[in-house]
Amino acid sequence: MERVVSASSLCKDYQIGSLTIPALRDLNLEVEEGEFVSMYGPSGAGKTTLLNLIGGLDQPTSGEIVVFGHDLSTYDEDFLATFRSAYVGFVFQSYNLISTLTALENVAFPMELAGWSEERVKKRSEKLLRLVGLSHRANHFPAQLSGGEQQRVAFARALANDPPLILVDEPTGNLDVETGLKIVWILEKLKAKGKTIMVATHDERITRLANRTLHLRDGRIVATDE
């Protein structure tokens, strides 16, 4: 199996004025292809920071982070943009949909960036919205969708370019139980498809799906449940 993520001695500090706040400390991690890894830990443990580093959204202060064979700390912003577009699907805790685009256009956005043909983009966007059960909301703007619906659109968008790695940050944190179940169902389907998935979550329904659960505290992995 191919190694998807390899992090060694990974450190990330945030500078707030003269104050240095360590978010990750000497973290080592390896994730194999097709693995479903959940991350558990209190707020400020470093879960989101780790996802950001793996997704190439941020650069480590020190250490090495290699994703699909690319040492992400050595590349410029243009390469990282291409990398994200090709390898990574993000689902953010606060959905992060583009407010001026409809649900369908939000899903289509990564494909349009990647230069797909108009027809192919349309077909796949509709298919993905059907997958998350939102065909009937295709032409609605984010402000016209509920939180659960926005999260499902975010999932559809994350799958747009069919990325091998899906990074998900607290997908059910802002949702009610019933809507949360729909998200769990989507994750189950993704796992069944063989996607490599990393999820930061406190939701036991999701951790139960994982092959591994990492317990993070103060920027370190303190325990691992297989």
């Binding site: 959204l57 941020d58 912003e77 943009a81 992060n96 583009i98 001026t100 289509a108 956005f109 960036l113």
Partner: protein
Amino acid sequence: MNEIAFPVKDLMRRKFQTGLTMIGLTICTAATIFLTLFGENIGFEITLVTGGKLTTGFSNVFSRFIFTISVLNVLVGALVTSFLIYLSMSERVRDVGIMKATGCLSNIAFGYFLTELSIIVFTSCAAGTIIGVLTHLTCIHALNTMGFSVSQRPLNLWAILFIFFIFIVASHILGTQPIIKAIRVKPAEALSPLYSFGTTSGEPGKLASSKPGLTLKVAYRALMRRKSATRRAIICLATVLTLTTITIAGGITASQTTQGYVERAVGRDIVIVGHPDLTRKYVNLLSQFFEAKETESIDYLDSRYRISESLVSELSAISGVFKADPRLVLETTVYEVPGVIIDPEEPNQYIPVGDHRLGEALVLGVQPERVINEWLVFGRVLNETDVYSAVIGDSLALEMFTDPQKQAIMVFGKNFDIAGVCLDPLNNGNVVYVPLDALSTLVDGQLSYNFLFLKIDPSKSLQVLAEIEKQVSGTMLEPLELNEILGKHLDFLGYIWSFVMFLPLFSLATATLCLLSYMMLSVTGQQREFGIMRALGAKPKAIVKIVFTEALIVTLISGAIGVFVGLFFTFEFLIPEPIISHFTLISVAGWLVLVLVFLCSSSLYPAVKVVKKSIVRVLSQP
């Protein structure tokens, strides 16, 4: 915190926005002050002085231009201030919400922001006034250094105070409106993350389909989401671009038109033949336009100055001489003769116009069919059948007559009906052209000339001049080519207009400020979305393209309005009988394209700024 300390600290905290607003207002005030003082100093009155009289003359072109630009500058200054305060308030509405939510009364919050406005307005207007006065003094000094004797008149303090006051009042009136609007927003609304002061209008522009491409679609939707701010930006920018267009198109056209008027009046490739005393005097009189000189009195009828008919015939016959125009030139006192016009209130009644004013003028007896000059004439030129008709210079018309074309002028005791008014730099426009026969009869009873004007072939000028010299040798006459003096006239006008052409730079700076401020607001409002796009794989240049497209849309819409209104106004109202050459059109178009390109390029600054921010930091902002 007291009522002054809070606004001052607040302004200092928001240096960039405060700076933009202050620079905008300072530029507008400085431009208006400069224009008014500069225009007044070089001897032309603001247009109202000539109101109700003739709408002719160089001074009129210049003063109309100055008046229009000044009015537009005041308008732009107030609009820019209002717009920038509006943008500032759109970023402050949450602060207002917090102030009100914590128990601050609306009137106290209003007082804080009004104090901020007053600090900005007073400081900017004071700075603008100082800069305007200094620019004016520098320009006058520069003109004098270049050899044009422009006297430094005392500064018109009343005009300075008036403009200062107008800017203070207009900026307060328009600047207070967005503050009142922001204060009226309910605290719950103001604190809601979904609320955005004047920047959200529900549906984010459904008009754009997916077809125009990702960049255009995202840019258009973003502009439509900020409908209110976009509309204000377009109005503000269109007004600024109207001003820019008028300064560019009006400046270039007025410069070329006035130069054209002079060239037509003086004539190109003209050689005058006369006694050296007279030719020297004539050049001095022609130079009055740009250089005040004392001229000694002269007896024009002295027999030494006469040119015989036979010499006129011989010189006319030289190969390369296109036309010969013999003249009798004299200086004398002329008198205004009142006329009558139909009473506008009672059409069957006549009322007298004019008075019995008098003045010194240069009187030129000409043979209408042989005249080589092509003045811009309001009314008509003299023709062969005219006996006691005259064409007078524009300065004489403006200073001595109420309604010249309804009046007559008395020369050597004889009344001449005024057929037209011409623009003529000779003797600074204090000239009277009458039929040569009539003038000769009045002064000595026989036809005589003391000047001969020859229009020559420019390609053979050296040979023709040599031939003329040969013909006049042995007489007391000399030939003198006027191209050099014409060149000085054109240079003088060129220098004056080149100073006025600083104005497009002023208005361009104002337009850039407007667009830059709007784009800063737009980019700030969208930076989270740009962060999302980057997280999804958009490269930095894709974000820059979106921001540039937004700026391009706003600039093109404002530009279309501003350029159309500006050109229409310039050519319809501002410049009487504009002389428009291919060069004029190319210059105007070139400058306007440069302005629009520069404007759009200025949007790259906020775009580059936003893509340099860390994605994680942008996404973590509320």
